[in-house]
């Protein structure tokens, strides 16, 4: 009974701290709300549209004009006309356009007389998405133009319409994007960026919460409230944080898959489970860090360096197998990595639990980490013998 009462007292004490120092609530709720709004609204279009494509039309014939109009009419591209190559190239180099298409002089004449004119197009591959999409758009348009000319010739020859298709396009490919059929860039990034931010916020806030006790020397009071038991003290704090972060994490998941309607093959409940485990594992990492380095500001600096790098090491942009061998092990230090694996199994493939239980085990294994540093943390809390600043 005393144990329960003590735990309750710790919770009450923590709540009072929240009221006194709004930074906790701001750091949790405001930060997560901002991130959620940012990633959902910034990428809300899913696929960018009207990306400027520079066109230098040296031919100025009906064929080249037609080509430009068609290019302009695609959802992705917006044609920007230039008079000369030099100024277009400068804009390509300056990143104002991501691709450039040069239609040579005599383009139309050469087509008509089957002299195979060469179109040049340049892409600025430093603007990844805009560049690669513009590239795809231009390639499609050139193939269509080429096809249109062929069709005209074949029709004049009196070839049957069915046969024309076979001649124009003997092989075709049917593309199926599993897990994100519309190639929604927003869904792709928000699905991982927002939980990634949650991991970051948990690590930072919890280190701060445990670290300020040391910094302001209130840790003895905390232990006193907890009946001189570090486990009670941590349990009390963690219950409060776990509940708050789980609520935040679940709201995010519901927002993503119900409100935004991002594709999710499996059930939402499984993602909620993953989200809850992410919260537990991230909290454990935070306790480990402050336990190992019981100096508030050092622990915070370490936590910040750790969690910022976590977004890259999760492997949802550049897959882990493309990273150097020595770094792949490092990715295992991040709860988000396992959360991502669970998301792939649940969200994309709807696999049975048997296929991804090991990631659940891995996340649960994180929860053992705090036990290694409990003694150390308690000593620091009692003796307060580390530098406070």
């Amino acid at each position: 009974m005393t144990f329960l009462r003590n735990t309750l007292n710790v919770i009450r004490r923590e709540l009072r701290i929240w009221v006194r120092r709004p930074i906790y609530v701001v750091g949790m709720v405001f930060v997560m709300a901002f991130c959620t709004i940012f990633y959902l609204s910034f990428l809300k279009d899913g696929v960018p549209s009207d990306v400027p494509i520079a066109v230098v039309d040296l031919d100025r014939s009906s064929t080249s004009r037609n080509f430009c109009q068609q290019l302009d009419a695609t959802q992705l591209g917006k044609v920007v006309y230039y008079d000369d190559f030099a100024s277009a190239r400068a804009d390509l180099q300056g990143g104002r356009v991501t691709s450039l298409c040069l239609i040579p002089e005599g383009f139309n004449r050469d087509i008509q007389s089957q002299r195979q004119p060469t179109m040049s197009f340049y892409v600025n591959g430093l603007y990844f998405l805009g560049g690669s999409l513009a590239w795809k758009d231009l390639l499609t348009m050139i193939n269509l133009t080429s096809g249109a000319v062929q069709r005209q010739v074949l029709r004049m020859k009196g070839v049957d319409e069915n046969e024309i298709m076979g001649l124009l396009r003997p092989v075709d490919v049917d593309v199926h994007q599993i897990g994100n059929a519309t190639m929604n860039y927003g869904a792709y990034l928000a699905n991982m960026m927002i939980p990634g931010m949650l991991q970051m916020v948990i690590v930072i806030i919890l280190i701060y919460s445990l670290g300020t006790e040391l910094k302001y020397g209130t840790s003895r009071h905390l232990l006193q409230v907890a009946g001189d038991d570090i486990y009670t003290a941590l349990l009390g704090k963690l219950i409060l944080y776990t509940v708050s972060f789980t609520v935040i994490g679940w709201s995010v998941e519901v927002l993503l898959y119900k409100w935004m309607g991002f594709p999710l093959a499996g059930s939402l409940a499984e993602m909620l489970l993953a989200s809850f485990l992410l919260v537990l594992a991230s909290e454990s990492v935070a306790v480990l860090i402050i336990g190992c380095v019981p100096v508030c500001r050092f622990a915070l600096s370490i936590g910040a360096l750790y969690s910022v790098l976590g977004l890259s090491l999760t492997g949802f942009t550049l897959p882990v197998e493309a990273m150097p061998l020595g770094l792949r092990g490092l990715t295992m230090m991040y709860p988000l990595r396992y959360f991502y694996e669970i998301y792939v199994h649940v969200g994309i493939f709807d696999n049975p639990f048997g296929e991804w239980y090991m990631y659940v085990v891995a996340l649960l294994a994180f929860c053992f980490l705090p036990f290694f540093v409990m003694g150390r943390l308690k000593k620091a809390y009692v003796n307060l013998d580390y530098a406070r600043n």
Binding site: Q114, L139, R169, I178, T317, E355
Partner: protein
């Protein structure tokens, strides 16, 4: 000269500069941020993205057509850099199983009528299924199969035209009515590292400066010697001197870090360096100047040492997106477009990408430099203003403190009431 306004002004700036320099050097936590983040982060990021390209994505093939054409296409796909045919399956079920168990990241499926349709001079269709858990898998599968398909399409077309009695040259002319050259001069392999690293190098400078300065400012505030406080000898004047004197310390330090980040790190990793050294230096000094005023302005909000991490750490990834290196600037929603103007990194990163990696000169990125300059002027005024206001507040500290305390007390009182209430409920 000695007693002129200018002379005194310069002496004051120097005094403040010395004070601040000592301050920063004595602060271990700040030094850790500067050294660990400033020096190791660029290396670490370069290391993570060192390979940059994903090669040989494992793919499963289901070849129900089993004809010479499909077999040849599979061989050719296997030979591309992008695709590795890891499994040949007899049925779609088998392939789907491998796919779901993540042994492969995609499936290529040739239907049984593929060969017949080719023979019948019709359009033959094959299917690809890509794992969208990372867009790079999709890109690889699509590019690898597209290369092979375009190549095959050409051959088959020429074959079909030749069948109609055209010579090879004639057939080629009828098939390829338009030729094209595709040139991707700055990032030939669409390498992930080249585009990402170019963007984040400058951002690292800005963020490290911000966290470092905020920590140091927060510490001073905690110890009741505000960053903003004017030396007594100035008699309440000299906001500009404080801003410039303190700023010079950070400027100097970050020019060193900046030269390391923008010139040495790329060289260490064999990263393209197409800009001229002198012009990069011009960009860097402008960027660092703007960053100093930017950080001074915003660090006014930081009252305690650690607050910067809690309140602003999440901005780092946000700033990465706001540079417009991935999601194109032209497709930004209006609000975020204006929001991005708040950060020097928005202009600085783009200018650096264009200059260092695409080889642009200062004139080409002139627009970005202009924006950066305007931003710097605005932030200078804001930094001065912030320091002025804070000084004003410091002088009337007691009155303000008592006002804040009464508000705090009432909040705590209410909080305790709520706490008591909850406890009563729980114990009942």
């Amino acid at each position: 000269m000695k007693n002129s306004y200018l002379g005194r002004w310069l002496r004051d700036v120097l005094t403040i500069f010395n004070m601040e320099l000592k301050n920063v050097l004595h602060d271990g936590g700040v030094m850790i941020i500067f050294i660990a983040a400033g020096f190791f982060y660029p290396i670490l990021y370069n290391f993570v993205y060192k390979n940059g390209i994903l090669e040989d994505t494992p793919i499963a093939v289901v070849d129900n057509a089993d004809c010479s054409d499909s077999r040849r296409m599979i061989r050719e796909m296997d030979a591309t850099r992008e695709i590795d045919i890891a499994y040949r399956c007899t049925s779609m079920e088998e392939a789907r199983d491998l796919f779901a168990r993540r042994k492969v990241n995609g499936i290529i499926y040739f239907p049984s009528d593929f060969g017949d349709r080719l023979a019948g001079r019709q359009t033959a269709t094959f299917s690809i299924y890509a794992d969208m858990s990372s867009f790079l898998y999709y890109k690889n599968l699509l590019m690898g199969s597209n290369f092979v398909m375009l190549h095959e399409v050409n051959n088959i077309k020429i074959e079909r035209y030749s069948f109609d009695g055209l010579t090879d040259a004639q057939a080629d002319q009828s098939v390829n009515t338009v030729l094209y050259d595709d040139i991707n001069p700055y990032n030939r392999a669409f390498s992930y590292s080249i585009f990402l690293i170019s963007a984040i190098l400058m951002l690292i400078i800005q963020q490290v400066m911000f966290y470092g300065m905020s920590m140091s400012v927060g510490t001073m505030r905690e110890e009741n010697r505000s960053f903003a406080s004017l030396p007594d000898s100035l008699n309440g004047h000299g906001v500009g001197r404080v801003v410039l004197g303190r700023g010079a310390v950070y400027w100097l330090r970050f020019m060193i870090i900046g030269i390391y980040v923008t010139c040495i790190v790329p060289a260490m990793f064999n990263f393209p360096q197409r800009g001229s050294y002198g012009e990069i230096l011009v960009l860097l000094s402008l960027f660092v100047t703007v960053c100093v005023f930017f950080c001074m302005t915003w660090s006014t909000l930081v009252t305690r040492r650690e607050s910067a991490f809690i309140l602003f750490l999440f901005m780092s990834p946000v700033c990465v997106f706001l540079t417009g290196f991935s999601w194109p600037t032209t497709a930004f929603p209006a609000f975020w477009k204006y929001f991005s103007y708040l950060f020097p990194s928005t202009f600085g990163c783009q200018a650096f990408i264009n200059m260092n990696t695409a080889g642009a000169d200062l004139e080409t990125v002139g627009q970005l430099l202009n924006s950066l300059t305007v931003q710097g002027m605005v932030y200078f005024v804001l930094a001065c203003l912030a320091i002025y206001v804070e000084n004003f507040a410091l002088k009337r500290k007691d009155e303000i403190d008592s006002a804040i305390r009464s508000v705090e007390d009432s909040i705590i009182e209410h909080g305790e009431k709520i706490g008591n209430h909850i406890e009563k409920r729980l114990t009942r």
